[in-house]
């Protein structure tokens, strides 16, 4: 399936490059692109890595990228050690957290490259079964990351999740140890929405509070959560990392009262409310003001949606030359059009037309771009067709309305989220499901009466009745029976064998690489022993 798609992409890309060549603007240089390098955000790195490998294959373009965190990326740009930087937030001339101000000495421009949702990836099991349908309100999330809620069976979490019997397990918030745009986006959202609880304002350096662990980079935090010992952990990371790791993300409550997952459409809908700085003379031209997103009352909105930006130089200085500008602008043209095709699959959301057009103007400012922007009639961006009005966003228009079970209240959808697509058994009625171990019915009195039979009857797929609840569940937070009733209506498919394979994902492959190297070290010496024979002496 994927190879076919790849081939179509490749074909489309080839056609596109052919068109450019015909257009002639940079046909001379198109053959040999000068390698460029950048650094910064790990939030958008998954998308960027995909694009880099695509252009390397299709156009022989070498784009080096180092995901060192947005703060380091901006710093590298200021110091002139990279050709471009990627960051979620603009240069901080007056950082709220008191760190040194960032003022580049050369001219630059911001250009959005991709949209996405800062998601909350978690690793939680109820009696050995992975929970994939957790929902949380913004207030609960803020309390978790400020150390006010420390246990998964907190009343606030139970209220958000009527269908889950939350286990008594310590919450381990996993935060970024490096300066990060993801931290900045998350803290900005908390400081705007819950200023009384989050008082430090927007900061790239997430403070270590309470039980929290700090890990480096998006890979670090998602890697921690996806390990076995990460059970009970929750982190904030771009949606794509959860998809890649095969782990679920929290559905976050929006202002319309729905719990929404940061899928491409819900991010696209949310960002229709983003205010973009359209003052071309402003230093922060094209940067985002997200208050409208946070407060959007569209029920399809994922509130923590945002754009990621590339910072491109607009003058030749230091290591940046027009040759490099040619590569950079060609790469950015690819990103804005062709590259957006894969945004959804990767766990991001494609850019809408108005930003593609604005980005196109920014590309023209890059020295060496030859003044070539993006031709929207031939742009393969999934959010618009040729001839659409710039304010249109096909993706947002066609975004599905949320399911009724995602509405705040006593119902809860059971379908999986993020990279964990399997449904979660309904356990929250305080009952242990069906025919399971006798010992598990030690639930608090008076709740789980008919719930057990309800859930199993409804979810008639493949369960062998191991919907157990060995933990000290107490479904008292909600009226157990009514919740169960509602859930059975929405198809409480309990699937006991649905643990996603933890082994897939980059962590395991990294481990395999390490193991391979070690193996090589072990195997090599015997092979070399012949040479040693001569000089081995006592």
């Amino acid at each position: 399936m994927i190879p076919i798609r790849r081939i179509t992409h490749l074909f489309a890309a080839l056609v596109l490059v052919g068109l450019w060549a015909v257009a002639g603007a940079d046909s001379a240089q198109a053959a040999a692109y000068y390698p460029i390098s950048g650094s910064g955000s790990t939030w958008s790195q998954n998308a960027l890595d995909q694009w880099r490998s695509n252009v390397a294959r299709n156009y022989a373009m070498t784009i080096n990228y180092n995901g060192v965190g947005s703060t380091s990326g901006r710093r590298d740009f200021i110091q002139g050690t990279v050709d471009f930087a990627i960051s979620e937030i603009p240069f901080q001339a007056h950082p709220e957290d008191g760190s040194a101000s960032e003022i580049p000495s050369t001219s630059y421009a911001y250009m959005p490259i991709v949209a996405g949702g800062t998601s909350f990836m978690y690793n939680l099991k109820i009696s050995g079964q992975r929970v994939t349908n957790l929902r949380l309100s913004g207030e609960t999330l803020t309390k978790i990351f400020t150390g006010k809620i420390t246990n998964w069976n907190d009343a606030a979490i139970k209220a958000d999740n009527p269908a889950l019997a939350m286990p008594s397990k310590t919450i381990v918030p996993v935060v970024r140890s490096d300066g990060s745009g993801t931290s900045a986006q998350f803290t900005l959202w908390m400081s705007k929405q819950f200023p009384s609880m989050w008082t430090t304002g927007m900061t790239s350096q997430f403070p270590l509070i309470g039980n929290a662990k700090a890990q480096k980079g998006s890979d670090g935090v998602s890697g921690y959560v996806s390990q076995n010992y990460g059970e009970g952990a929750i982190t904030y990371v771009e949606y794509s990392y959860a998809k890649k790791a095969g782990f679920p993300v929290v559905k976050v409550l929006n202002k319309a009262g729905y719990y929404i997952e940061p899928t491409a459409p819900s991010v696209a809908v949310a960002l229709t409310k983003a205010q973009i700085n359209t003052d071309t003379s402003s230093v922060d031209y094209l940067t985002q003001i997200l208050d409208g997103v946070y407060n959007s009352t569209d029920p399809r909105t994922y509130p923590l949606s945002s754009y990621s930006y590339v910072i491109v130089p607009t003058q030749v200085a230091g290591i940046f030359t027009t040759d490099k500008g040619n590569t950079l602008s060609a790469f950015m043209r690819y990103v804005l059009c062709e590259g957006q095709q894969q945004a959804d699959t990767l766990g991001y959301s494609p850019l809408p037309m108005n930003l593609v057009l604005a980005g196109s103007d920014q590309i023209k400012k890059i020295p060496g771009s030859g003044g070539a922007g993006v031709d929207t009639s031939k742009c393969n961006n999934p959010t618009f067709k040729a001839g659409d009005s710039p304010s249109n966003n096909l993706l947002a228009q066609t975004a599905p309305q949320p399911q009724a079970c995602d509405k705040q209240g006593t119902t809860q959808c059971t379908t999986g989220t993020g990279g964990a697509t399997t449904s979660t058994a309904v356990t929250g009625t305080g009952s242990s499901g069906s025919t399971a171990k006798a010992g598990t019915s030690s639930t608090t009195a008076g709740t789980g009466n008919s719930a057990a039979s309800n859930s199993t009857a409804a979810g008639g797929t493949d369960q062998s009745g191991t919907v157990t609840d060995g933990t000290t569940t107490d479904g008292t937070s909600l009226d157990g029976t009514s919740a169960a009733g509602a859930i059975s209506g929405s198809g409480a498919a309990s699937s006991p064998y649905t643990l996603t394979d933890d082994g897939t994902g980059s962590n395991r492959s990294l481990m395999m690489a390490a193991a391979g190297l070690l193996l090589g070290v072990v195997i090599l010496p015997p092979l070399l022993s012949d040479r040693l024979k001569g000089r081995s002496k006592p």
Partner: protein
Amino acid sequence: MTLVLDEAGLALAAPDKARAINVLPGLTDRIFRTVAYAAGGITVAIMVAVGLFLSLRASTALRVAGFSFLTQRAWAPEHQIFGVGAVLFGTVTIALIALAISLPLSLGTALLLSEVVGGRLRGVLVTLVDLMAAVPSIVFGLWGVYFLQAEIIPVSQWIATSFSWIPVFAVTNADGSSATDASAFTSSAFIAGIVVGLMVVPTQTSIMREAFTRAPIGEREGAYALGATRWGMIRTVVLPFGTGGIIGGTMLGLGRALGETIAVYMIISPIFDINWQVLKTGSNSVSALIALRYGEASDFGLSALMAAGLVLFVLTLIVNFTASSIVARSRSGAESDG
């Protein structure tokens, strides 16, 4: 000529004086001498330059922080509050744990290589140990994070529950109750220490092996002749002879463990408090701190990191000088130098 004749009395004493030998070294000798002196000189000059560079760059931060730099347990250069108190503690903790792991391992390996196995097998094993030193530390780090950590947690839990009466092995929650969750044991100084310990094993092994193989054959055979078993011979001849090698190798390993960066950086969850509970999440080390923060540091922040680097530089220098002086003063070391 005339001068000698005039002062005949003095001339009589003159033959006793050693004749000044004017050696005119050949061209190759001169080239060799120049190269050797230059190489040695440049090495020393580079060391001094590193120290000087660190001191210069660190001076801005050190002037602000003063002596509290060594005691302060926080890292916020933007607020002028920073110091390596806790970081230094973490560095030393990790290094000591590493030594506790590596010392028995390398001592055993060195004895095995020098006394037990022989012939081709020894050559292969020696190469294997040396190759272990060539494994990049990032590989050790990846292995530590993605494999060892998950596997070692039950061990940590067992130590914490069985030996909780030893304060450093207890793992407690914020409220003082003992922690049992696997998550309380991740990213700890213990795990980082194990990985670093395995990394310094080859260094220590080769130094110890070198010292052991130098144990005089006459003494060895003497011990055997007096009826000693192999172990008896090792105990009475090899180990006493190689004491300098053991201590020196250990100290050199310590020097490397103190400076190990990437593996520690990948494993620990950096904190700026002194964490006595080595099995519990959270530690820090100077080099990991520098690796983590230098990319995003402001000029002043960079100066503060340089100051931290200077402290580590001095610490490592002290350790290594102590090590080399011990090695040189020991019997095996003196013979190897002589």
